[in-house]
C-alpha cells in the first residue's frame, strides 16, 4: 500500500482508537489494583500506547519525505 493511499486508513484507525479508549473496554485492568510505583495499571497501558503512536509516525513520516528537502 502506498503512503498516500494509507492516509484515510491512518485517520480511520486514529478515530477508532480514540473511540475504543473512550469506552470502558479496559476494565480488565482492575482499577483498584495498584501497580509499579503505586500507579493504577491502566496508566501503563496509556504510556505504552504512546510508544505505538511513535511507531505510526516512524512508518508514515519517514516514508513520506519529499525529495525537495535536500535529503
Amino acid at each position: 500500500m502506498t503512503v498516500k493511499r494509507s492516509r484515510p486508513l491512518i485517520a480511520a484507525a486514529m478515530i477508532a482508537i480514540l473511540f475504543v479508549l473512550s469506552q470502558d473496554y479496559w476494565t480488565w485492568a482492575d482499577p483498584v489494583a495498584l501497580s509499579l510505583f503505586g500507579l493504577p495499571r491502566w496508566v501503563y497501558l496509556f504510556a505504552a500506547l504512546q510508544g505505538g503512536v511513535s511507531i505510526v509516525v516512524l512508518w508514515y513520516g519517514y516514508g513520506n519525505t519529499t525529495s525537495k528537502d535536500g535529503k
Binding site: M14, L34, G38, W42, V43, Q50, S54, V57, G61
Partner: protein, 480 residues
C-alpha cells in the same frame, strides 16, 4: 534570598541569549519571524516542546491532577502524543508549501491557497482572538509561582509584569532566533527540573509507592479511569482528546514552527520523539497534584492550580524549590514569547501590511512587528490582572476557538477543489456555535453529551464538504 538570586541569574541569562540572537539576526520578516527558515532538528525539537508545554503544563496539569487524578495523565499525555501525527501530516505539507511560496504566517498560506482575502483576514482574526486568552495564562501562572515561592514578597501581578517585560525585551530584539535559542535552554531545564521535583516530593512523602497508596486510601477515585467526580465520562474523554489533536496544530505559534526547519525530515524527527516525551514527562506534574492531597487536602477551584508551588515549598529544599520555580518560569516564558512573536507576525503581515500599507519596506515590517509585540504583551497582562476562571477552563475555551480552523486548514493543504466561501462560512458558523454554547443560547442537549467541540467540528466540516462538492474551486497556489 536564594530564590531571588537564582531567578535573577536566570533572567539575566535569558536576556544575554536574546542579545546573541539579535546579533545574528537580519532585518527581514523571514529572519525576524522564522529565523531564516534554517532551523535544525535539535533546536526544532526543543522549540516545539518548549512552546507547547506552557504554564498549563506545570500549574494546569498539577491542578487537574489534584482535582481529577491520574485519569488526567492518561488523557493529556495520549492526546498530546497524537499531536505528533498532526505534525507529520499537517506540518509536513505546510512546510512544503511555505518553502515554495515563502509564507511567513498561517493566514498567508490560507489566503494564497484560496486566493481569498476575506477568508485570510477571518482566519487571522480567529487566530489572534483565541490565542490571547491562552497567552494570558502565562503571566497568570508566572504571577502565582513567583508569589508562592517568594512568600508574597513579589506579589502576583508584580511577578507577571516583571517576567513579561523581560520576555518582551528579548523577543522584540532578536525575534525567532532569540526565541529558539532561549527555548533550547528553557526546554532542557524544564525536563530536568520536573523530574527532580517529582522525585523530591515523592521521597518526602515516603516514596512513590507509599505516597500513592496513602492517597489511594483517602481518595481512591483519583486512581480510577474516570477520575474524581467521574470527570472523564466516555464522551468527555473522547471530546478532550480530539480537542487537543485538532487544536494544537492550529496554535499560531505551533503552526509557524512548521515553516522554520531547514528540511522536512527535521519535523519527522521531532514527531517521533514527541510521544515518548509526553509518556514520561507528563506524569510528573499530575503526580505532584495527586500527592498534594496528603499535604493540602481541602483546596478548591483556582486554589488547586497553585498546588505545585505549594508542594515544592512544603517538601523540597529551598534551592531546589527555587530551581524548579525557574523551570516553571521557563515554561511560561517559552510559550508566551512564541505566542507574542506569532501574533505579532499575523497582525503585522496580514492586517497592518496586507491592507493599509502594501509595499512597506521589509525593515519597517520588523519595526512594526516589535511594536505589536509590546502592545500584545500589554493585552495579555490586562487579561491576567483579574484571572477569570481556572487555568483549565481558560485553555478549553481558547482551544475550541482555534479548533474551528482545523477543517479549513486541512482543506487548504490537501483538497485541490475546496471552495473558499464554504471555508469562510464554516469558520463563521463554527465560532458562532461556540459563542452560542458558551453563553447558553444553544441548548446543551445539542452536544449529545460531548464537549461543544464535537458538534461544532462536525458542522464546520460538513459545510466545507457540501459547499466544495456543489461548487468546487481550483486552488491557486502550486499543486503537488
Amino acid at each position: 534570598m536564594i530564590s531571588f538570586v537564582i531567578v535573577g541569574v536566570y533572567l539575566l541569562f535569558m536576556l544575554g541569549v536574546g542579545i546573541v540572537g539579535y546579533r545574528k539576526s537580519q532585518s527581514t520578516p523571514d529572519d525576524f519571524f522564522l529565523a531564516g527558515r534554517a532551523v535544525g532538528p535539535v533546536v526544532l525539537f526543543f522549540t516545539l516542546i518548549a512552546t507547547n508545554f506552557s504554564a498549563f503544563f506545570f500549574l494546569g496539569f498539577a491542578g487537574a491532577g489534584y482535582r481529577i487524578g491520574y485519569s488526567y495523565y492518561a488523557f493529556q499525555s495520549f492526546a498530546t502524543a497524537l499531536v505528533s501525527v498532526a505534525i507529520v501530516f499537517i506540518g509536513g505539507r505546510a512546510w512544503q508549501l511555505a518553502n515554495e511560496r515563502k509564507y511567513v504566517t498561517p493566514s498567508e498560506l490560507i489566503g494564497d491557497r484560496f486566493a481569498h482575502t476575506p477568508l485570510k483576514l477571518v482566519y487571522a482574526a480567529v487566530m489572534v482572538l483565541f490565542t490571547i486568552p491562552y497567552l494570558a495564562i502565562q503571566p497568570i501562572g508566572a504571577g502565582y509561582l513567583l508569589a508562592e515561592l517568594t512568600n508574597g514578597a513579589i506579589p502576583y501581578f508584580g511577578g507577571a509584569v516583571l517576567l513579561t517585560f523581560c520576555m518582551v525585551f528579548y523577543v522584540s530584539l532578536g525575534g525567532m532566533r532569540s526565541v529558539a535559542l532561549t527555548d533550547v535552554f528553557q526546554g532542557a531545564m524544564m525536563f530536568v527540573l520536573m523530574v527532580l521535583a517529582v522525585v523530591f516530593v515523592a521521597s518526602a512523602l515516603g516514596g512513590f509507592e507509599v505516597a500513592n497508596t496513602r492517597v489511594f486510601g483517602v481518595r481512591p477515585e483519583l486512581f480510577s479511569r474516570s477520575g474524581g467526580s467521574d470527570f472523564f465520562t466516555p464522551a468527555r474523554w473522547f471530546s478532550y482528546t480530539l480537542l487537543y489533536v485538532v487544536s494544537v496544530p492550529m496554535f499560531p505559534q505551533v503552526f509557524m514552527r512548521f515553516f522554520i526547519p531547514k528540511t522536512q525530515r527535521s519535523l519527522h524527527h521531532v514527531a517521533l520523539l514527541y510521544p515518548l516525551v509526553t509518556a514520561t514527562l507528563f506524569l510528573g506534574p499530575v503526580m505532584i497534584g495527586v500527592l498534594g492531597h496528603l499535604t493540602f487536602p481541602m483546596l478548591e477551584g483556582t486554589q488547586s492550580d497553585q498546588i505545585l508551588p505549594m508542594m515544592l515549598t512544603a517538601h523540597a529544599p529551598e534551592w531546589l524549590g527555587a530551581l524548579v520555580m525557574v523551570g516553571a518560569l521557563a515554561a511560561f516564558m517559552s510559550t508566551m514569547d512564541s505566542q507574542l512573536l506569532a501574533l505579532s507576525s499575523i497582525v503585522t503581515r496580514d492586517i497592518f501590511v496586507g491592507r493599509a500599507n502594501r509595499g512597506m519596506p521589509l525593515a519597517n515590517q520588523v519595526r512594526v512587528g516589535r511594536i505589536v509585540i509590546i502592545l500584545l504583551s500589554l493585552v495579555g497582562l490586562a487579561v491576567a490582572y483579574r484571572p477569570p476562571s481556572t487555568i483549565f477552563d481558560i485553555a478549553t475555551e481558547a482551544f475550541t476557538g482555534l479548533a474551528v480552523l482545523f477543517p479549513t486548514t486541512v482543506a487548504a493543504l490537501f483538497w485541490r477543489t475546496a471552495n473558499p466561501t464554504s471555508c469562510l462560512v464554516s469558520i463563521l458558523v463554527g465560532e458562532s456555535l461556540l459563542v452560542g454554547f458558551h453563553y447558553g443560547w444553544l441548548p446543551s442537549f445539542l452536544t449529545f453529551g460531548f464537549l461543544p467541540l464535537i458538534p461544532i467540528l462536525v458542522t464546520s466540516t460538513a459545510i466545507i464538504v457540501i459547499g466544495s462538492a456543489v461548487r468546487p474551486v481550483n486552488l491557486r497556489a502550486s499543486e503537488h
